[in-house]
Symmetry: C2
Subunit: 227 residues, 2 copies
DNA sequence: TTACACACTTGATCCAAATCAAGTTTACTT
DNA sequence: AAGTAAACTTGATTTGGATCAAGTGTGTAA
């Protein structure tokens, strides 16, 4: 379950780049992890900051926004337990172009670049697993860039719903983790359009809306087919 | 200059992930490079293939397309001398979701995964430079995903023009390296729209169109401001 | 140089989604 | 439980760009 609190070890193992560590390596990494708790609304990091650490969400939720040149902002990720951000910072200093804010009280584990580099010098085989994971992330982002220019809003919303629903039992009602306004920003559209599309999907019998921000996916296959 | 033919050493050094190699390391990498020449229209690799090598363009040009679920295709990159693709394949087997085609006779250098892995085992410090480069690529892609959902077509075209013009002297006429149709696909729009937007920009006095596919940027700052 | 195919342009129309403008619900505060 | 502010929905209108349909260039090959 994504809601529960994670220990340092669990925390590290959830980060894909650390998934394949041996017990010994895991110990080594644990030794350089710091923990910190943020309150709701706290800023984990700001655009313009120099990033010098990897941040792992141990418990809670945080939103990561990217600022576009024209001042508009784009929700990049919704981070939950086990998600992480800033892994690029472990390898070289980068200036952040995004900022993150805690949605609820949130506990994070973090690893400083300097500590990590020292560790890497001692245990170079660590790097291989990380390289693997980076490769995957790149493919994923290429896919996203493609879908944004080739799919309609309806299609992207359908994808988002199916993806989000994946962490809940099939066919059951669940609460969307984001408000309509935020889903809208994430998908590059408006709350009104989200509202209308959800109605269309409900009329088509593909999902059912409940009170609050709850929905149940009834026909995942049809949704996924949405172009 | 991007048009000239590159030797094996030059070729490798142009790949960002190999930029910081020492002379000795460079020798090591050179030893595992293969060369190959493709004719215009030849396919360098196909969607569905299992990628098992890094491909570097030594001379020529190739287009890389991504196929979307609905059958539409999206031009991902235009590769020129020194550009490369498939670096993820060096770390683990991936099934390609894109395909690449030579635009003109094109010479490539390639490195097989197995060879590279063997080398990495011998010289683990190689991995650090690569990790760096991956981090940069990820930021770049995140930026692209953002711009696509937050900017208008006009803005994206303006960005594309400014970026493309950067490799030519300021204010001079140059030939666009892609046809309108291809620029259109790349930006997720249509040739008609590209045509109209270029006219708008010309009327605004920001650029000047010449015969063929030539243009000259007159006011880069205004173009860059386009939302 | 003429012919032909292809790229490009221009105009007319159409459509998905944004925007604008009220309502209505929901959830939070006291 | 009432009051309030925010989130959401619904409707009317507008609009950026796609699509469709002719044209007009442009480069190439005989």
């Amino acid at each position: 379950m994504r809601e529960q609190k994670l220990g340092t070890h669990d925390c590290i193992q959830l980060v894909p780049i650390f998934k394949q560590l041996t017990t010994v390596e895991l110990q080594q990494v644990s030794a350089i992890v710091h923990e910190h708790v943020y309150e709701k609304g706290d800023v984990l990091f700001n655009a313009g900051d120099e990033a010098d650490q990897l941040t792992i969400i141990a418990a809670g939720q945080a939103k990561v926004y990217q600022l576009a040149a024209n001042g508009r902002e784009q929700l990049l990720y919704l981070l939950q337990s086990g998600d992480f951000d800033g892994e690029a910072a472990l390898f070289n200093p980068v200036i952040r172009t995004s900022y993150a804010e805690a949605l609820v009280p949130t506990q994070v584990c973090s690893i400083q670049r300097s500590d990590f580099q020292a560790l890497l010098a001692e245990a170079p085989q660590l790097a291989l697993g990380i390289l693997n994971e980076f490769g995957k992330r790149i493919s994923q982002l290429e896919g996203k860039a493609t879908s944004v220019t080739t799919s309609s809003i309806g299609g992207r919303l359908a994808d988002y719903l199916v993806e989000t629903a994946a962490s809940f039992p099939a066919q059951t009602m669940f609460t969307l983790p984001l408000q309509k306004k935020e889903i809208a920003v994430y998908l590059g559209t408006t709350p009104e359009t989200i509202s209308r599309k959800l109605n269309e999907f409900q009329t088509a019998g593909w999902l059912k809306k409940g009170r609050g921000n709850q929905i149940a996916i009834l026909d995942e296959d049809q949704l996924a087919l949405q172009d």
